[in-house]
Structures are given as structure tokens and as C-alpha cells.
């Protein structure tokens, strides 16, 4: 047995001193975090869908972005599912009775009775069978808030394939843009496939308060409509006399149902002869078959639907299966007045996914029409880099042309629509020239996803010569690859990993790190102004003494009460 274990320990400590000394003064080391799987920035590219083409007699503009709209779906949306070939219909997810167009009543070459069917779909919902969500719709890599959307009536499965759980392309956020022609008779048939009651309110659109049978047509359960119950359907009938950018949304428990995603844009296009308009613009973004009236003044048209979500609200449907529980948690326990918006989306997605499907493709000397719609809970401050846009319409109503305002930040109140004209003439005012110009909300939280930047509703106006072969912008900045990982959205990647040769702002590895004793301050701090900074103080002793003093004072007063009373009386008497 060793006789002097203490001496041995001290000896070992002395011998280890040189090593210990370096640990004593250095800070934890830097490590590189593995970013895991990196998605291709453009993952699903259908090159043949991107070119200008004609399907079943429907002309459509080229769409150079990474994920263009399916041309067969556009043919169905323009001609109706009843006027296209079976082959075309089979290339879409539309139900055979999804969009019916008929009755050219005024003989001007386009149908005047449009029957639109809408279902209600839940995205990223709960399953009682496994720990995943169904059917999934990622707003950014791995980011899956639970949502409800109005969806065009589809056929077959809710998922895209048998193996995966990702939603079929018609089931997505935002609720689809509906486009009709001024003066047409429109029947909007809501087939409530959801497990809660819903209605449709036609916000801003000319509609009679009651329909032809005397039933409510305004969608407000408290005043003008019955609930459309689960499994039931209801038809809203309108014949809008006034064109413009409008809105449709559910008016049941509107505060949460609208936030959950039951809100979409509704565009009434001006009446023109032979004017077949694209009834749905699924996923919003570029309108590949613009109306006659738009093409008179513009070269291209884009629908930009901005939305925001509070993750506390959007996780309720993921935590329970019982509809009664969900109703209670959403409408009795969740308090929207305490809410904060965590996810900010443009056309249903957040940056960087917006680059795949919500870029604006520009060429010099053109006019682009943007319809901006705000369905978030707060006023947006949309800003366009490189361009000053002219606000031509507010809420679908044309602004007096001589008074129209050209600016670079557009404030849009909740539910408001701004129609913008972007003129790409390189004059230093309307446009500063060609490039990859982002456009985004300038409330800075709008450019975050769950508080992390880059994210949110950022997208880009990209000039053609800056588009690469798969339709992504040719950027000259930092790599966007780390943003296409789940690790990033899991908050695991450091904000500035590998920005230089030795990863000077990398992840800290503090495992096993023990801070050395702090150095002693050499001299009092005489920095000017330092006196204003008050160090935290411990007032316990001061308060104890103060209490002691009060106690002694009280005792003295009691003991000498006769004198005190006499003194006070003398003061009174002296008056």
C-alpha cells in the first residue's frame, strides 16, 4: 500500500502542470457540424413542362422556374375537366367533375356557366397509427406545420404515391387562386370533406346575400348561412359584375380557420370575347394562361399570396386525433390574442423553397402584373429590390391613374390586395437593370422561419439571363446549399459555418471544458461613463441594518411616548 497518497497526487498534479496550463487559458475548440443530407435545390424538374406549349387547344406561356405548373392541369383549369381529352385528364389529379364549363349564353366564344368544386384537405395532419404526419407538405426542408386548405376536387389518393406520404400536387398551400370572368355565372360547390364545419365567404366579390332558393350566400354562420357540415355540400352562386383581385375564405371560427389556411385569392377578370380564363392557379405564382384583358397591358402575371402561421396553433391538429379534442384545444384553450406568427410563407412555402416555384421571371422592357394578397394577421411591408413598382389597384379597385403611387415598400393590411405594375425598363427608377433581385417583407420577422434567417417569405425577381438550366437563379453570393437541409431548420447548423479557412465562427465544442479561474482585475476601471453602469448589488445586509434601525426607533418612540405626545400636543397648542 502506498503510504502517502496525498504526496503522490500532488506530485502528479505538478507533473501535469504544463498541459493543464494550456487548458487553463484557452477557450473551447471549434468543430464542424455535419449538415446531413442536402436536397438538390431543384429537386423535381420537368423540362418538358417549362416550355411554352399548347395542350388540348390551350396556349400557355413558358414557365422557366424549377417547378413549373403541370400543362395538362392548366388545360383542365382553362377548358374545364368536361372539355378536355381523357388522356389530358388522366395526366392530372383532377376529378372528372372538378371544373365544369358550359353554356356560352352570350355567344362570345367562351363558356358562361362555371361550376367549381372545392374540397377541404388537411395537410401535415395526425395519424393514430404511426408517429408521422399525413399527407405531408413541407414549407421548407422538414418544416411541416399542420394546415387546412380548400383544394380543387381531386380523384384517387391524397398522397402522391403508394410509398410516400407526401400530398398529391392538388393538395397544397395556399388554397388555390380562383379566376373567373366578369359577368359569368359561377357556382362554387363546397364539398366539405373535413371533420369540422366550414363555409365560404366571398370577400369583396359581388355576390347576392341570398341565393336563388333563398338560402344564405354570404357564408357567415351568425347572420347569413348555415354550417356546411362534414360530409355535406353547399353551392354558392354568384355573377360578379365588377372585376378585381378579391378573396374567399371560411367564415366559421374565422380567426383560426383563416389562419389554418382556409383562405385564397379570387380574381375576377374583365369581360372580353373568347376569354377562357384559368379557373384555378394551384399554388399561386405565375399565371400561365393570362386573361385577354391582362395581355392587353402586361406581358406576364403573377399571384403572390402571403400567409403566416403560429406554430402553437398549427400543431394542435398534430397532437390529437379525436375531433372533439381538437375543437376544444383550438377554440377554447388556444388564445389567439397571445399568439405570435412563426412561419411566413409566399404561395405556401418559405425560403429557400420559394426559389423553386415563386420566382418572378423578367426580361428588360416588359410589364409584369403582380397581385399581392396578405392573409397574415399583421400588416406586411413588401419590398422589391432593384425595382419601384406602381400600385394600380387597392382591393381590386383601380386607383386614379394620375394619383397612382410608385414606391419600393408596399404596405398591405391583413386581407388587403395590392395590384402592382413592375416595369422592367432600365431607367434607374422603375428598374436598376438586370440581375437576381429579391423581394420580401421588410418587417424583419417576415424573412425568418421560426425566427431563423434566411427563411420566411423571401423570393426573387430573376432576369432570364440569370436563370440556370433548371430554372434556379445563378447567384453569385454565398452557397444556399446549407438551407436545403433539415439540419438547418432543426437549428443545428451554425449561422456562419466555414466562412473562412479555419471556420472562425464555427460550432463550439464545450464538452468537458472547464473554465479556468477568472483573472484578477489589475486596476479599477476608470473608463469614462463606467460609473453609470451599476453592478448588481446584494442588499441583504443593508436591509437587515435598516430593519434593526426601524425596530430601535419604534422602541424608543414607545418608551418615550409620553414625551412624544406632549411634544405633539405642544405643537398643536402653539398654533
Amino acid at each position: 500500500m502506498q503510504k502517502n497518497p496525498l504526496g503522490l497526487l500532488l506530485g502528479a498534479a505538478v507533473m501535469l502542470m504544463p498541459f493543464a496550463a494550456s487548458a487553463v487559458v484557452s477557450l473551447p475548440k471549434t468543430v464542424e457540424v455535419d449538415s446531413g443530407e442536402v436536397e438538390a435545390p431543384c429537386n423535381e424538374n420537368n423540362p418538358e413542362w417549362r416550355v411554352a406549349q399548347t395542350v388540348d387547344g390551350v396556349d400557355m406561356q413558358e414557365s422557366l422556374r424549377c417547378s413549373p405548373d403541370n400543362p395538362y392541369a392548366i388545360a383542365a383549369e382553362v377548358k374545364g375537366t368536361n372539355n378536355i381529352s381523357m388522356q389530358t385528364l388522366m395526366n392530372t389529379y383532377y376529378a372528372a367533375d372538378g371544373i365544369i364549363k358550359k353554356n356560352d349564353m352570350d355567344g362570345d366564344g367562351d363558356p358562361d356557366l362555371i361550376i367549381i368544386k372545392l374540397e377541404v384537405a388537411e395537410l401535415n395532419g395526425h395519424s393514430p397509427d404511426f408517429k408521422g404526419l399525413v399527407p405531408t407538405f413541407d414549407i421548407a426542408p422538414g418544416v411541416q406545420p399542420g394546415m387546412w386548405v380548400f383544394a380543387p376536387k381531386s380523384r384517387g389518393m391524397a398522397t402522391n404515391s403508394f410509398v410516400g406520404v407526401d400530398a398529391n400536387p392538388l393538395l397544397r398551400a395556399p388554397s388555390p387562386v380562383i379566376r373567373v370572368e366578369q359577368g359569368d355565372t359561377i357556382w362554387i360547390q363546397l364539398e366539405n370533406t373535413h371533420y369540422f364545419p366550414h363555409t365560404i365567404h366571398l370577400h369583396g366579390i359581388d355576390h347576392p346575400w341570398v341565393d336563388s332558393s333563398g338560402e344564405g350566400n354570404d357564408g357567415v354562420p351568425q347572420t347569413s348561412d348555415k354550417f356546411v357540415l362534414p360530409g355535406q355540400s353547399k353551392t354558392y352562386e354568384i355573377r360578379p359584375r365588377v372585376p378585381g383581385s378579391f378573396v374567399y375564405h371560411c367564415h366559421v371560427q374565422t380567426h383560426v380557420h383563416l389562419a389554418m389556411g382556409l383562405v385564397g385569392m379570387f380574381v375576377v377578370e374583365e369581360n372580353r370575347p373568347n376569354n377562357w380564363v384559368q379557373t384555378f392557379n394551384v399554388g399561386a405564382g405565375q399565371v400561365r394562361h393570362p386573361s385577354k384583358a391582362i395581355l392587353e397591358d402586361y406581358d406576364s402575371e403573377y399571384d403572390l399570396h402571403y400567409h403566416a402561421m403560429d406554430k402553437e396553433l398549427h400543431s394542435i391538429i398534430q397532437e390529437s386525433n379525436d375531433p372533439r379534442l381538437i375543437a376544444k384545444k383550438m377554440n377554447r384553450e388556444y388564445d389567439m390574442t397571445d399568439s405570435t406568427e412563426d412561419y411566413h410563407t409566399l404561395n405556401g412555402r418559405s425560403f429557400p423553397y420559394t426559389l423553386r416555384e415563386s420566382i418572378i421571371v423578367a426580361e428588360p422592357d416588359k410589364n409584369i402584373k403582380l397581385r399581392m394578397f396578405n392573409s397574415t394577421g399583421e400588416t406586411l411591408a413588401m419590398h422589391t429590390h432593384g425595382h419601384k413598382g406602381t400600385i394600380t389597384h387597392y382591393d381590386g379597385v383601380e386607383h386614379n391613374p394620375v394619383a397612382q403611387i410608385t414606391r419600393d415598400v408596399y404596405d398591405i393590411a391583413p386581407a388587403q390586395r395590392n395590384d402592382l405594375k413592375i416595369n422592367t425598363t432600365d431607367d434607374g427608377f422603375h428598374s436598376y437593370g438586370e440581375g437576381v433581385w429579391i423581394f420580401h417583407d421588410h418587417r424583419e420577422k417576415g424573412i425568418t422561419t421560426n425566427g431563423m434567417n434566411p427563411g420566411g417569405n423571401v423570393s426573387a425577381l430573376v432576369y432570364k439571363k440569370y436563370l440556370n438550366e433548371v430554372g434556379l437563379p445563378k447567384t453569385i453570393g454565398e452557397s444556399i446549399a446549407p438551407l436545403f437541409t433539415k439540419k438547418f431548420h432543426d437549428r443545428k447548423l451554425p449561422v456562419w459555418q466555414n466562412i473562412d479557412d479555419w471556420n472562425s465562427l464555427g460550432e463550439i465544442d464545450a464538452e468537458g471544458y472547464v473554465a479556468p479561474p477568472a483573472s484578477k482585475m489589475a486596476a479599477p476601471d476608470v473608463t469614462p461613463g463606467s460609473a453609470d453602469i451599476q453592478a448588481p448589488t446584494d442588499n441583504s445586509f443593508r436591509n437587515l441594518i435598516f430593519g434593526l434601525f426601524l425596530g430601535l426607533l419604534a422602541y424608543t418612540l414607545v418608551v418615550n411616548r409620553v414625551k412624544v405626545i406632549a411634544f405633539i400636543s405642544s405643537l398643536k397648542g402653539g398654533k
Binding site: 381523357m86 376529378a95 372528372a96 367533375d97 374540397e119 388537411e122 395532419g125 395526425h126 395519424s127 393514430p128 397509427d129 404511426f130 408517429k131 399525413v134 399527407p135 376536387k153 380523384r155 384517387g156 398522397t159 403508394f162 400530398a167 393538395l171 359577368g183 355565372t185 364539398e191 366539405n192 370533406t193 373535413h194 371533420y195 336563388s212 332558393s213 357540415l229 362534414p230 360530409g231 355535406q232 355540400s233 353551392t235 352562386e237 355573377r239 397532437e319 386525433n321 379525436d322 375531433p323 372533439r324 397571445d338 448588481p536 448589488t537 442588499n539 441583504s540 443593508r542 436591509n543 437587515l544 441594518i545 435598516f546 430593519g547 434593526l548 426601524l550 425596530g551 419604534a554 422602541y555
Partner: protein, 285 residues
Amino acid sequence: MIMIKHLSIAALTIVLSAPVFAEKEFEDHTSMMDHGDGHLMDMTGAMVMGQNTDVLPGGCSSLAATKEITVHAGHKYAEKFPGRMYAFDVQEYQFEPCTKLTVNFVNDDNVRHQWMMHGLPKYLYPKGMFHLEVTGPGKVTGTLIFPPGDKTYLVHCDIAQHMEKGMKGQLKIGKGDGDLPSIPGVTAYVIQDDYSDKNPDESLSDAVVEELTEMKDKVIGNDSFFSGLTIIGLAIGLIFAPLLARKFKGMSAGEVFVYLVGLVKQSVDITVKVISWLINLVKKK
């Protein structure tokens, strides 16, 4: 101009007065277009996929039986299963292998429903699926022939959340090969709902505010003269005042001060002595 206006009003009146929104009548989808591969469809949204009326699956020497069932689907069938929203009228079926089954699928709701089976042999059924779909109220009919072997097939409606909210059943061929989870009235959920009332009395934000205030107090210190220690001081003062008063009776202020200084000196002396004693104790070892 006025003429056009009147005409359009007339047109509107005619269009809107048509009884188009009367309750939709039950539609039996009997004349559907055959698109090959067992896929039938019509223009009002009825669909059959994976129809097989005559090809015997491998391993079946002959049809074991020819059966016909009628399946109802709708919101009302969920009534007997609280916490569900949609259901079929029957949740379990059983047939012998190599049975030819004709399913009359009746949808009693006014939306789409499906009766979908997965896991059939893919050489006979495209994507291994037999699928009936119809918008109610209406009926669609399809036929298939089951392969040999004991197996439990899932039948469900694949519209988002319809299976999760109750429209789910199982079809056993032969003895089947076990039960599927979450079949209303038959098997439990894999992931159970939490029905405990976890809602705290105070809202989350109130709790957060309280916590923040507490943290702030810890960091910047409580700057008030009145704290718990003030009260303790007060009590000590009141208790010791009479004793002190007796002690200092007759002394001048100067004498009291000298006395207090003497006390402090004594206590310091004691502390120093204790420390040196401790040091000596260590040194001796």
C-alpha cells in the same frame, strides 16, 4: 346599353331561378367508360380501379365462391363510435381465398368517399390496389378475385384524414394474418389521445411573465429597502431594544460608541484565534 342590361338581368333571372340546387338525387353509376387495366370512370366522378371479373390469381385452381356485398360509407355511420367523424357501416369482413367478390359501394354523404384495398398481387391489380370511389349520394360497383393464402387487407378511404377519423376496416382472407390497429370498435389506436385536462389555470404567457420577473430580480437584485430581511431586522430590533436600553442606561452617546467598538474588536480577536488554531492543526499533521 339599356337593352343589354335588361337582357343580362333576364338571363340572370332565368339562370338563377332554375332549380339546380335542389337536393342532389341518388346516382347509380352504372354506365362507366372502360379505360383498360380494370380502370372504369364516368364524368360525374365515379371510379373503379383494379377491377378483375375473370382472371384467376396464381394458386387458385377455381373460384372458391362468388359473393356480393353492399358497403355504406358516411358521416352517420360514425355515430356509434364517439370521437370519430366518418365510417363504413361494417368494419370487418371475412372471405375464403380465391373468392370472387362484387362490392356495391354506396356513399350516403354529399362528398367523395372511397373503398380502397392495398396489398393485392401487382401482376393482376395495377399498383396492388382495388379502388372504388364515388361522390354521394350515389353508388358504384366493382368486382375482384382474391388470391390464395391467409391475409388481412386494409380497406379505407384515402381522402385526407378520413381513415384517421374512422373510415377504416379490415378484410380477412381465410384466417387473415392478424388485426390492424385503429379499426373503430375493433382495435385500439397505436398512438392514444391524451384526454387529461392539462390546461393550467393561468395562461402560458402569464407563467412566462412571472418567470421572467423572477429571473430579472435574480440578475439585477431587489433594490427595495423593504424585503424579508427588513422585517427580520425590525423584529430583532424590537426584541433587543429593551435589553440594549437597560445596558446603555445612563451612558452618553460617546460611551455607547466606545462600547460597540470594543464588542467588534472582541469578535475579531476570537475569529483570528480560531483561524490560527485551525492552521496549527493542519501544520502539526
